[in-house]
Amino acid sequence: MDRPRARDAGDPLAAFAPGDAVEIREPTGRVWRGVLMPRSEFSGDRIVILKLDSGYNVGIRLVSGATVSRGERPGAPTPAIESTAPPSLAATASDRSSPTGPPVAVLTTGGTIASRVDYETGGVRPVESADELLRFYPDLAGRSTIQLVPVFDRLSENLTPDDWVTLARTTVAAFARGARGVVVTHGTDTMAYTAAALAFLLEELPGPVVLTGAQRSPDRPSSDGASNLRAALRLASEASFGEVVVVMHAGLSDDRFAIHRATRVRKMHSSRRDAFASRNVPPLGFVENGTVRWTSDVRPARAGPPRLSGPLESRVALVWAYPGMDPDRTEAFVHDARGVVVAGTGLGHLPENQLPWIRRAVDRGTVIAMTTQCLEGRADPFVYATGRELVRSQVVFLDEMLPEVAYVKMAWVLGRTNSPAEARALLLADRTGEIGGRRVGADG
């Protein structure tokens, strides 16, 4: 751990580091005894954080005249007990049923599901080793059929399209080594992007690829990470299908998990466990009390072997339409992009003052696609004049395809072709369930 930063020349703490037992004697005679803790980045000036014997941390201001001396360590800590999963959940019969069956590969990428509290910064940070992860999920260690493959240790907002390709390649390799299914643990912020990217990048999938994450970090007793992971493992080790899905809580309860198609799922809440929802279609199914129940057709497993269908074009921009958007600023933002996805208002509109840069971009060979920021419903150019004008400018309307999915698909399409016309056709052709189908008014 770092030393607390030096305060001034006569810093009474200079000789001490976090973890040291200290005694602070104030000029009033008041003595504080405790263990020096890392300072929070939000702590005030000259504040020292002490963990008292009671377990409480308090902030004490080092006033002039205060002295700090080495203190006595509090009594020896009680023996460590490793974190464990609730026995009722860890020891269900089917978890133990086929310990020698084909393995499931668990690819870890970081994110909350594999993060712990950083007491120094006060935030959560990814774990640094598979060992550390196993401490959170000891039921993984007990399963001989799981191959843990650390890929990244990053929060998902820091992942890039290059990382999606790396992850897809690792997935292909896992199947090549004999995995029957692959689970990817991932930060939830951009999990839907990665899921969509894997869906476009992976061909001939011989088994399930299941992404899961956590909305609560695993150092919390209430973390949803363990139960999400367990549901994902069940799906990857028992179900038979060949597509990329996201499995997360279906509601606030820990006993029901929704299975979402990778190209239809979106994070719809910043903090709830059931943040993930399928848009425009119902979920593919549910894992309920340990049982998988399909409610829509899932793509069957292919014979394999799986192939990577890359690369991804990185010069793609995503533009959000809003009143008052400045055409010059937008044009500058998209100037070297080969593809631009617009999340338009309503049925897929932009202020008409944006048309000139769109026409110039299309003339340069840029592919421009329109989606709706409503998320639910289709983008449709023929209802209003603006839409018709956009179509005349060769903007391709992507029906109900989600803006982020369209962004990922644009990167994938432009990685396959240099022809704008072909790219526009590929964007509209359904590849993995991302576009088309019926939108019904009544459930079921």
Binding site: G55, E82, S83, S222, A226
Partner: protein
């Protein structure tokens, strides 16, 4: 005896970490189900108490209400500390001459019994080193904390425990005394003094459960035992004295065990399904029939030490059973209660032979459908039996309605705490502390004396008013012109009587109490009608007028009273004619029944007397015309 107190007082500000009202409710709007896991803290260790709870492997069902939001559901990060609650804590800290910390760090105290959806209670140390003068001496107040209350436990069915989220997050001020109180009576006095001081900080909840005490007790040679969640101030002394007696009993049990000189080594669990296959009734039969196991464990040296004796309210078999239940089994059977529970003396002999027991040895049986659970239960029995040779184990106990206590879990260590990183540290500048400041109110003794002197209240009434924290309400209502005796009666007796048997007693505002007293004085209902009006208010009547109406006491005019009396007299004409004015007594009963508290008894009596006189006069022949 050495004893200390932790007093927890609910605040009536908003909730501590969200902006929900701090109100309990019966309206459930939805439920969800969760499980919790023991996790490692800052130093990557799992606390023994957390581990213990977690072995019970419960499922938790939570009821959502109008008093909770996504924060209580553990679906949203907490908001900042409620400022009014912090003010109250700071005010109290300065009244107690405590050293307020310079920066508050909210901590997570791991609690995996399900009472917190997050698996931890948020708590913050606000001040240390306070002192409180009680009965002429200073009691030390080592810590003053601000923390969130837990969810309300509603029910348990099998392994599913139901909690309601309305109480979760209500701010609690926690005041601890040093372990320096020497008797139950002293504990009670200190608890009352603290209670009245906290109530003076301002927005404090009233009613049952709004103040809860934890009592720490140890005796020389014993250990610290914490009795958690005593709900009544006066019960504090009962539980403290009872715990001291229990520790004396455990020490004498140890002396007796050690005197026997037996090695303190219980045996290993042995399956005895075969030995007990012919048991026909009782818990063993039920377990075997449902495919369960019966395990036995020898307890060398314990024969005759497990059962009840007439001279003690404690018996060791009960201690063992309480520990075993912690592992999720229904209980244990021990050899001091056999033959019994469907087990015959022949079967007992068989068991003793199987376990190779000598006469001073005892054994326990656990029957359960889950073998692992039965083994875990016996492991706990073994540990507890070994502790009997040492004396008194430090532990947490639950208070029971009969005044005894029951083992709940081991004492928690400091591993339970780690920082709540979702909330940045809160700096307490001198200016911030000054903003919360208020003059220190009178102490409890001073308040009692003042009530007796200024209002002529009897000592006991003054004591109850102060102990319940109602002295300020009393003074204000009297200032508003109400009769002191009537006000005191309302605050100390009437409300409690009307609320008898209710789980939840809302706190009435001073305005409501004042208009109630005003209506009573104006004769809008009589003192006989008071309980009905109070009950209507407790049932949720929005105003005193509405309560009077709901109680069926809507005001009748003088004319209505006369009409009613006239009707009753007319109906009883034969009686009146036969007995004249002597019919008053029997008729008064009828009239009062109908008046049902709407009129004062004296007014009714006057009206009846007048009506009788009129009636008798009119029945006589008139004076002759001359």
């Amino acid at each position: 005896m050495k004893a200390g107190l932790e007093v927890h007082v609910q605040l009536a500000t908003g909730k501590l970490f969200c902006r929900c009202p701090a109100e309990l409710t019966e309206e459930v709007r939805g439920t969800f189900v969760r499980s919790l896991r023991a996790v490692s803290g800052e130093n990557r260790q799992v606390d023994v108490a957390a581990r213990f709870e977690f072995e019970r492997s419960h499922r938790f069902r939570y009821e959502m209400t109008g008093s909770d939001c996504l924060v209580e559901a553990d679906e949203e990060p907490p908001l900042g500390l409620d400022e009014a609650a912090l003010d109250a804590a700071l005010r109290l800290a300065s009244w107690l001459h405590a050293r307020i910390v310079d920066e508050i760090q909210v901590m997570r105290k791991i609690v995996v019994d399900g009472s917190n959806t997050s698996g931890f209670q948020r708590t913050a140390l606000v001040a240390v080193d306070g002192r409180l003068a009680v009965g002429g001496r200073d009691v030390s107040i080592p810590t003053i904390c601000l923390e969130e209350d837990a969810a309300r436990r509603i029910a348990q069915e099998g392994e599913t425990v139901t909690y309601r989220l309305d109480r979760l997050g209500i701010p609690l001020i926690e005041i601890s005394t040093g372990p320096e109180l020497a008797s139950g009576e002293e504990l009670r006095l200190v608890a009352e003094e603290i209670g009245s001081l906290v109530r003076a900080t301002g927005p404090v909840r009233r009613g049952l459960g709004s103040i809860r005490e934890d009592v720490n007790v140890s005796i020389p040679g014993g250990s610290r035992v914490e009795i958690k969640g005593v709900q009544e101030l006066r019960a504090v002394s009962t539980f403290a004295d009872g715990e001291a007696a229990r520790q004396r009993w455990l020490l004498s049990l140890r002396d007796a065990l050690v005197a026997r000189g037996t090695p303190p080594r219980p045996g290993s669990p042995v399956a005895v399904d075969g030995e007990l296959a012919d048991v026909e009734t009782g818990p063993i039969r039920r377990a075997l029939t449902s495919g369960g196991v019966v395990l036995a464990m020898a307890l060398p040296g314990f024969a005759g030490r497990l059962g009840r004796s007439s001279d003690q309210p404690f018996w060791f078999g009960r201690e063992l059973a309480d520990h075993a239940r912690g592992a999720g089994v229904g209980g244990i059977i021990h050899s001091d209660e056999l033959p019994g529970h469907g087990i015959t003396s022949v079967q007992v002999e068989r068991l003793r032979r199987r376990l190779a027991l000598d006469p001073p040895d005892a054994f326990v049986l656990v029957a359960d459908r889950d073998r692992t659970r039965a083994e875990r239960a016996l492991e706990r029995v073994r540990r507890r039996a070994e502790q009997a040779f040492e004396g008194v184990p430090g532990e947490t106990r639950d208070p029971l309605p009969d005044g005894t206590t029951r083992f709940s879990r081991p004492l928690a260590g400091q591993e339970r705490m780690y920082p709540e990183t979702d909330i940045p540290p809160i700096a307490l500048s001198d200016a911030r502390i000054a903003r919360a400041a208020a003059p220190r109110p009178k102490g409890a003794a001073e308040q009692r004396e003042c009530l007796q002197r200024e209002f002529g209240l009897p000592a006991e009434v003054a004591r109850v008013l102060v102990a319940d924290g109602e002295a300020p309400a009393f003074a204000e209502l009297v200032r508003r012109g109400h009769e002191p005796a009537v006000v005191a009666r309302l605050l100390t007796q009437d409300i409690a009587e009307a609320a008898d048997g209710r789980e939840r007693v809302p706190a009435f505002s001073l305005d409501v109490l004042s208009s109630l007293l005003e209506a009573l004085r104006a004769g809008r209902f009589s003192k006989e009608g008071k309980p009905a009006v109070l009950r209507a208010l407790l049932d949720g009547a929005p105003s005193v007028d509405a309560a009077i109406a709901a109680a069926g006491l809507t005001e009748l005019s003088e004319h209505d009273l006369e009409a009613m009396v006239a009707r009753i007299v007319a109906t009883n004409r034969p009686l009146v004619e036969a007995r004249g004015l002597d019919a008053f007594s029997p008729l008064m009963g009828d009239v009062m029944r109908e008046a049902r508290g709407r009129y004062d008894g004296e007014r009714v009596a006057a009206a009846l007397r007048a009506q009788l006189e009129r009636s008798i006069r009119s029945a006589r022949p008139g004076p002759p015309h001359g």
